[in-house]
């Protein structure tokens, strides 16, 4: 069975409709991770694995199961197996916590969708002993949790993700600059945002990460309605970030709106491509595990 087939099979378990019925973020994330992992197991050649790098001295708090008992038998000293990624990767999950992320047309809001992805990614990374940090972004970095690979840290990440308080304003470009300033060590910056801001400012902010030698992945969380604008009747659109009210005939605006949206996405894609940043568009009606596994599979192929 190929990775795609495995992902397809598992995606039946991690659809947004199904996940929306799971109350806790941790369980949701686990469902997603299970889906991703089951897909990976069925395709070991296509997946990724954790490479053994060296031993290090055991310190309290390390996982007992990672103690290398063979070395202990030969040397009577405790050594813990250390892996390449575990030792080098510091991942920063940057979650957009603006009001616009609360929009939903289907089972999950963009924020719920992004949080689930963030939790799932955190789980996956920590399985590999990578350190994961979390930054909640509004018009600035509202909260920042430095990276760590411990279980309590994971719980903290989940707690913060579950208790996100959105802010009415967003300034994505500026926030990215702030975050880039805060992250001293080289790492992987994973951005989860609807990127509804000036594309040029966003790209400049991303450039800052790249300038600091960070590896960057952009998960563009977007609602299906924002992509298709399927409204028929005249409605009043209310800005979710205190922009005001806008009565409009959707039929008359659809073509132009879709064109603007397309231009925006194209500008983001182009900016990301030019900076060797992975851009992944994730509509909120797509199964999370499938989308995630697709991306991870692609990444491992191109790495």
């Amino acid at each position: 069975m190929s990775a795609e087939q495995g992902v397809a099979a598992s995606s039946r378990l991690a659809t947004p409709e199904l996940l929306a019925r799971i109350a806790g973020l941790e369980l949701r994330a686990r469902a997603v991770v299970e889906g991703v992992i089951s897909g990976m197991h069925r395709s070991p050649h296509r997946g990724y694995s954790v490479e053994f790098a060296q031993h290090r001295d055991y310190t309290p708090g390390d996982e007992i199961r990672h103690i290398d008992w063979r070395v202990y038998g030969r040397s009577d000293r405790y050594y813990v197996k250390q892996f390449e990624e575990e030792t080098n990767l510091r991942a920063y999950l940057a979650l957009d916590a603006s009001n616009s992320m609360r929009y939903r047309s289907g089972a999950m809001s963009k924020l719920e969708y992004a949080s689930t992805i963030a939790a799932a990614l955190a789980g996956l990374l920590m399985r590999q002993r990578d350190s994961v940090g979390l930054a909640l972004c509004t018009d600035s970095v509202a909260s920042f949790l430095p990276p760590s690979a411990t279980a309590p840290h994971m719980r903290e990440i989940l707690r913060r993700l579950e208790q996100v308080e959105t802010a009415p304003r967003t300034d994505t470009g500026k926030t990215f600059h702030d975050l880039a300033e805060r992250i001293r060590r080289r790492g992987l910056v994973i951005i989860l945002s609807d990127l509804l801001d000036d594309a040029e400012a966003i790209v400049r902010g991303l450039q800052h990460f790249r300038h600091n030698k960070h590896d960057v992945i952009v998960f563009h969380i977007i609602d299906r309605y924002e992509l298709t604008f399927p409204f028929r009747e005249t409605v009043v659109f209310e800005g979710m970030e205190e922009e005001g009210m806008l009565p409009a005939d959707p039929n008359g605006l659809r073509t132009d709106y879709l064109k603007l949206m397309e231009e925006h996405i194209t500008a983001l894609r182009r900016g990301c491509r030019e900076m060797a940043i992975d851009y992944v568009q994730m509509p909120t009606d797509a199964p999370l595990d499938a989308a995630l596994a697709h991306y991870l599979a692609d990444r491992s192929r191109t790495a």
Binding site: N99, S100, M101, R102, Y103, K110, D194, L196, D223, E226, F231, E233, T234, V235, V236, F237, E238, G239, M240, E241, E243, M245, L246, P247, A248, D249, N251, G252, L253, R254, T255, D256, Y257, L260, M261, H264
Partner: protein, 718 residues
């Protein structure tokens, strides 16, 4: 100029439905829902860029929707377009319809199994049955050269009108639309009824020829001033026809055993030449001869027969075309002729001479009964010489013609007898003597009204200087045989003695038949009562010139005699529509006449007795064919026959179209329709206007399609 009205004006209230799209818009505006939207900036920018366009599109669609609803409401109101010159007829108005049914011969033209008359009658039935309603009235007129009314007074019993219409029959008469219009304009009408005239006809072109356009317009105006005129035409496309003209005999007098030429002109009114057309001659009901003729397209050719009648008396017959065409009635031409035993001529010469060269009657008598002629020819003319001073001892009634030669003067009693003879149909030839006295002749014969010209100065000249007859001046039927003939040289005949002839001025009955080369009249003909008088300028003897020595002399004399003796008692070959008249001698005074028409129907009719004998007259022959007349009873009963032939112009089946009819009628208002049209629709359209609901419906459908198209294009659909 047209106006607009509505059959269901109540539906105009539904125009308010046009406000429905606005109401829907307003209601929906009140119920408008609020949608939180994240990508607000994009929406805002989009709206700023498209605000004017969207507004325009919205207004355009709104206008289209309003228009569609208004048009549908308009369609339900059934708009009527009508001529403003004719006021709209109120729904409860009553109508008096004059139905004019053309029953002229041309209406017998058939195509696709039905004649124009059948089609016209169907239209008339449709008018009576489906156009007129209870309370309406009808008059029915048959249109022809002699218009007649089947129903003259307005008839409210439409069932009876239909029955009367069923009695209408096609006639053989010609067409005279103006006369019929005049007839219709004088029909009585009823107060309070709207008069409508339905003229159902083949619109034959010749039917409009009766009056010049300006007079025709006045006639038609009289009719249209009373009410609208519907011209219902049965004509459809070109109608082709073959026809026969009335037969003609080669000479005036027909005698037994003497072959006579009978000629009938075949007319081909088609676009193709007809070769080898079979034409047959039938005499007294029996076929006696046939021939083939080639007739060019749109041309004519004569069918000629030579037939010897074997016995005297009245004969009838016909010339028949052997080929069937659309119109049958004119494929047969009828003839009637009286064959006489002999022509009896009394030649009067009061001063006979033993020297034939000086005798005034010798050459005339010799020429009338020439020696060596055939037995039959001799029998044709029986001259009798009368040399007495007076005519008292002669019963002139036993002669067909009298020739006065070398007469110096005429006694009043003789003049009176001659006058009675001529008035009763006799022929008189007045030939002056070489030494005659013009004044005395003028006093005697002229005083009795027998001279068509006054004798004037006597001219005497040497033969070489004498004036000759001028055949080129011949215009008269009596001498038509000499017109343009070289083999009979009448032009070399010179008059050494001649008199000036001054024809009676302004007398339509007087004709100069031939002139001399010096321009003076040579032969003058005049009518007196039923008879004819021919007056010569010079003698017919050798004493007055060299005419008796010329080859032309014998035929010249015979032509004059035959013309004078031609039976004037009846004009036997007539045209349909013309009167029939015959004269009998006074011995049948007070007798009744029995006229049998071509259909076999006999009518008992009175005669009138006057100075010219017993006269029978019948106003018009309405059917083509032979009419037989019997006056008196027993073996002495007088018999006569007439042949009535179709009107020549009626065989020309060219019809006028709408513009042609309008042009012929002048500027009178006219509603033109085809007999194939639905009569109730035609009438309703004229009374109420043209139903125009299809226009708004089609327009609404088009706008609906346009609205759907634009809505899709503007992004309001799909």
């Amino acid at each position: 100029m047209n106006g607009l009205s509505f059959a269901n004006p109540a539906f105009l209230g539904a125009l308010a439905l046009g406000a429905l799209p606005i109401l829907i818009h307003l209601v929906r505006k009140r119920r408008i829902r609020v949608v939180p939207w994240a990508a607000y900036e994009f929406l805002l920018r989009s709206r700023k860029r498209n605000r004017k366009r969207i507004r325009l599109e919205q207004l355009l669609l709104l206008a289209l929707r309003i228009l569609i609803l208004c048009l549908m409401a308009l369609a339900f109101a059934r708009p009527l377009i009508r001529n403003l010159n004719s006021p709209m007829m109120p729904r409860d108005a009553r109508v008096h319809a004059i139905i004019v049914l053309d029953n002229s011969m041309s209406m017998g033209s058939r195509r696709q199994g039905a004649s124009d008359f059948d089609r016209a009658r169907k239209s008339a039935e449709a008018i009576l049955g489906r156009v007129l309603r209870q309370g309406d009235a009808a008059s029915i007129v048959l249109a022809s050269a002699r218009p007649t009314a089947l129903l003259r007074d307005p008839c409210f019993d439409l069932q009876m009108a239909r029955q009367r219409l069923g009695t209408a029959r096609l006639s053989d008469l010609g067409t005279d639309f103006a006369a019929t219009a005049d007839f219709c304009a004088s029909l009585p009408s009823r107060e309070g009824l709207r008069l409508e005239t339905y003229w159902i006809t083949d619109s034959q072109q010749s039917g409009f020829a009766g009056l010049p356009p300006e007079r025709a317009e006045r006639v038609w105006r009289r009719l249209t001033d009373r009410g609208p005129l519907f011209w219902v035409s049965t004509a459809a496309g070109e109608r082709e026809n073959l026809s026969l003209d009335a037969p003609r005999f080669s000479r005036e007098m027909v005698t037994p055993g003497s072959p006579v030429g009978i000629e009938a002109l075949v007319r081909n009114r088609t676009r193709q030449a007809r070769n080898g057309l079979s034409v047959a001659l039938r005499i007294d009901g029996k076929p006696v001869a046939s021939t083939l003729v080639d007739v060019p397209a749109q041309g004519s050719a004569s069918a000629r027969f030579v037939f010897p009648f074997d016995r005297s008396g009245v004969h009838t017959g016909s010339v028949e075309l052997g080929e069937y065409d659309g119109l049958e009635r004119d494929n047969r031409a009828w003839l009637a002729v009286r064959v006489r035993d002999a022509l009896r001529v009394l030649v009067v010469n009061p001063t006979p001479s033993s020297d034939p060269a000086r005798d005034e009657a010798f050459y005339l008598l010799t020429a009338l009964a020439p020696a060596g002629a055939s037995e039959g020819a001799r029998a044709a003319v029986q001259p009798t010489l009368h040399t007495g001073a007076t005519l008292a001892d002669r019963d002139l009634r036993t002669f067909d013609a009298v020739a006065l030669t070398g007469v110096q003067s005429v006694a009043p009693a003789d003049a009176s007898a001659l006058r009675d003879f001529v008035r009763n149909g006799g022929g008189l030839l007045v030939v002056p003597g070489a030494t005659g006295d013009a004044a005395r002749l003028n006093a005697g014969l002229g005083g009795a009204g027998l001279l068509p010209a006054t004798f004037g100065r006597r001219h005497a000249a040497a033969l070489d200087d004498a004036p000759a007859m001028n055949p080129a001046s011949v215009t008269h039927p009596a001498l038509r045989a000499f017109r343009g003939t070289d083999e009979v040289d009448l032009g070399s005949a010179r008059y050494t003695v001649s008199y000036d002839l001054t024809p009676r001025p302004n007398d339509p009955d007087v004709t100069v038949a031939c002139r001399l080369t010096d321009g003076r009249a040579a032969v003058v003909e005049g009518r007196v009562g039923q008879g004819k008088v021919i007056q010569m300028a010079g003698p017919l003897s050798a004493a007055g010139g060299n005419l008796p020595y010329k080859p032309a002399y014998v035929p010249f004399v015979h032509q004059l005699a035959a013309y004078l003796a031609a039976d004037a008692s009846a004009q036997r070959i007539v045209q349909v529509g013309k009167p029939l008249a015959a004269r009998f001698d006074v011995s049948r005074a007070g007798a009744r006449a029995l006229l049998t028409d071509p259909t076999g129907v006999a009518k008992d009719l009175p005669t009138t007795t006057g100075a010219d004998g017993v006269l029978f007259s019948y106003p018009a022959a309405e059917r083509a064919g032979t009419y037989k007349l019997k006056v008196g009873a027993g073996p002495s009963a007088g018999a006569e026959a007439f042949a009535a032939n179709t009107v020549l112009s009626e065989s020309d089946l060219r019809s006028l179209n709408r513009s042609g009819v309008q042009s012929a009628l002048g500027a009178v208002p006219l509603r033109f329709a085809s007999a194939d049209d639905d009569m109730p629709t035609v009438a309703r359209t004229a009374r109420r206007g043209v139903e125009a609901w299809r226009v708004p419906v089609l327009l609404a459908l088009f706008l609906l399609f346009l609205e759907a198209l634009l809505a899709r294009r503007f992004g309001r659909r799909g």
